[in-house]
Each structure stands twice: as C-alpha cells, then as structure tokens.
C-alpha cells in the first residue's frame, strides 16, 4: 500500500515536471506581455526622439550620414522586436527593443554633440568671415591711402622737375 502511494506520488511528480516546459511559456508570456509592450513603446518613442535630434543636428549644418545609418539600425531592431512579439518570442522581442532603445539613446547624445560642434563651427566661421572682411577693408583703405600719397608725391616731383621750354620764339632782329 505504501509502495503504491509512493509510486503514484513519484509518477505525478514526473508528469508535472515533464509537462512544465509545455505550459511554462504560457505563464511566462502572460507575465511579460506588458513588459514587451512597454519595451517596444519605449523603443519607438526613443527612435522618434533620436530622429528629432538628428533633424536638429542636420539643420545646424552637421553631417548626419552616420547617424542616419544608426537610425536605420535602431529601426531594424524595433521591427525585429515587433516581429518577435507577433510570433510570441517575448524574450527576444524585449532584447531587440532594448537594443533599439540603447542605439536611439546613443544617437540622441551623438546628435547633440554634433549639433553643438556644428553651431561652434558656424560661429567660428561667422567670426572669421566678419574679421576677414574688416581686415580686407582696412587693408584696402591703408593701401589706398599710401598709394594715393605716393601718386601725389610722384606727380608733385614731376611738376617740380619740369623746365620751361622755349618754343616758337620769332627772331625779330
């Protein structure tokens, strides 16, 4: 009797243990659906923020070729996350969405840095242009002044060196 009871308990335990993997994804999935939703939503929001940051960087004159490639990389991961979500592979979906978020956050930082650098370069270019223009104007004025003086002196000297020439004097004697 005791042996039968032990056999039943062992059989039940083995059955539960063997069937656990079949039901485990269901329980895990039920718990992680909101997490996947949140991860995908976060990834989407971060991607849009990254895009806005890249637009701002481009507007300030930065080269955004690398950032565009990164945006497409983040978008690819987000799409992969959506695909995994539809297939029910929630852990991979979360991993892809988190990777996408990470790339997007990196893009936001890079875009900000690029934007600041572009603004600084723009300011520097502006200063160089203004200072250069002023220098050119001053140089033209100085050269003009000295040129005018030299020309004046040359003309004066020429005038002073002039001699009276006798021409057409009639011999009346």
């Amino acid at each position: 009797m005791r042996g039968t009871l032990a056999l039943i308990i062992i059989t039940t335990f083995v059955c539960i243990t063997l069937s656990l993997p079949l039901f485990l994804p269901y329980f895990v999935a039920a718990n992680t659906v909101p997490e996947v939703d949140k991860a995908i939503r976060d990834a989407n929001e971060n991607l849009v923020d990254a895009f806005t940051a890249v637009v701002a960087a481009e507007k300030s004159g930065a080269d955004v070729t690398v950032l565009t490639a990164d945006l497409n990389k983040a978008l690819g991961l987000l799409n992969e996350a959506r695909g995994c979500y539809e297939k029910g592979d929630y852990s991979l979906a979360i991993a892809c969405a988190d990777n996408s978020t990470m790339i997007s956050k990196g893009i936001i930082q890079d875009a900000k840095a690029l934007r600041e650098r572009a603004v600084q370069e723009g300011t520097f270019r502006g200063i160089v242009t203004i200072v250069g223009a002023i220098l050119v104007i001053v140089a033209v004025c100085v050269l003009g002044y000295f040129g005018w003086r030299w020309w004046n002196q040359r003309s004066y000297k020429k005038l002073m060196e002039m001699r009276v020439k006798e021409v057409g004097v009639a011999n009346s004697g």
Partner: protein
C-alpha cells in the same frame, strides 16, 4: 555651398521582381506570392522618416486622391519604414499574396512621412508652394 532646391519632393515607384522597371507581375494564381520592389527617394532637403503602406484594393476600392490629398480607404497590408537622407534612394522588397481570385486588383503603395509637429505619419507633404501626395500602383489579375 549648394543652392536651395526650387521644389521639395518625394518619389515612390514600384519595380519588377528583378528590381528593374520591367516584368511587373500582371497575373498570379490565388495565394501565390507576388514579389515586387519599391523604390523611394527623398528630395525634401533634409533627413526624413518614411513609411510605405502597401494596400490592396479591388475595382471599387478608392485610390488615393491627389486633389483631396487623402489616402486610399483600403486597409494597409504591409508597412515598410526607413530613414532617408536628402537625395537618398532606397529599394525594398515587398512580398504579398492575394487569396481571392478577381480581375483588376490594384496594389497601391502610399508614401507617408513623419511630421514632428503633428507627432505622427502624414500622407500629404508640402513641396514649398503646395501640398502633394506620393503614391503608385500596379494592376494584377488573380486567377483561381
């Protein structure tokens, strides 16, 4: 220094299975996969976040309206997204199947862009003077 373009615009065009403007599928069996490529170009003078809606309609389905600037009322069967820089072109493979036999199915490709002010994708875009829409379609007969 580059001069500002006089007009801003998008381009969208379907291509055949080889990625060329030839051998477009015109007749397929019901459920058979239709393979085409979609080319998208951005000439808006800045980076754009683009979305292509692939819609399938029958004769009665309203196509996008160029004057009213409205998209087709058919439901979107597929969406393809990408980021494109100014003057950049990208091609995407699109695979879909139509299960019900019929003639003159129109497979429509609508180009939407992300509008930061509106906070979402929008169909009409501003070319610098007027609003426009970009879409294209191919006609397919589906046999039983």
């Amino acid at each position: 220094m580059l001069p500002k373009p006089a007009r801003y615009f998008f381009e969208i065009y379907p291509l055949g299975p080889e990625g060329m403007a030839a051998n477009y599928p015109t007749e397929v069996a019901a459920g058979q996969l239709i393979n085409v490529w979609i080319g998208v170009s951005n000439h808006m003078g800045r980076i754009e976040y683009l979305l292509v809606h692939v819609k399938v309609g029958a004769n009665a389905t309203a196509i996008p309206d160029d004057r009213a600037l409205t998209p087709s009322s058919a439901t979107s069967r597929k969406q393809v997204e990408c980021f494109l820089m100014d003057n950049q072109t990208q091609m995407f493979p699109v695979t879909l199947a139509i299960s019900r036999p019929g003639i003159n199915y129109n497979v429509m490709f609508e180009l939407w862009y992300y509008n930061e002010t509106a906070g979402g994708f929008r169909f009409p875009w501003y070319d610098g003077s007027v609003y426009r829409v970009a879409w294209s379609q191919i006609w397919i007969n589906v046999t039983a």
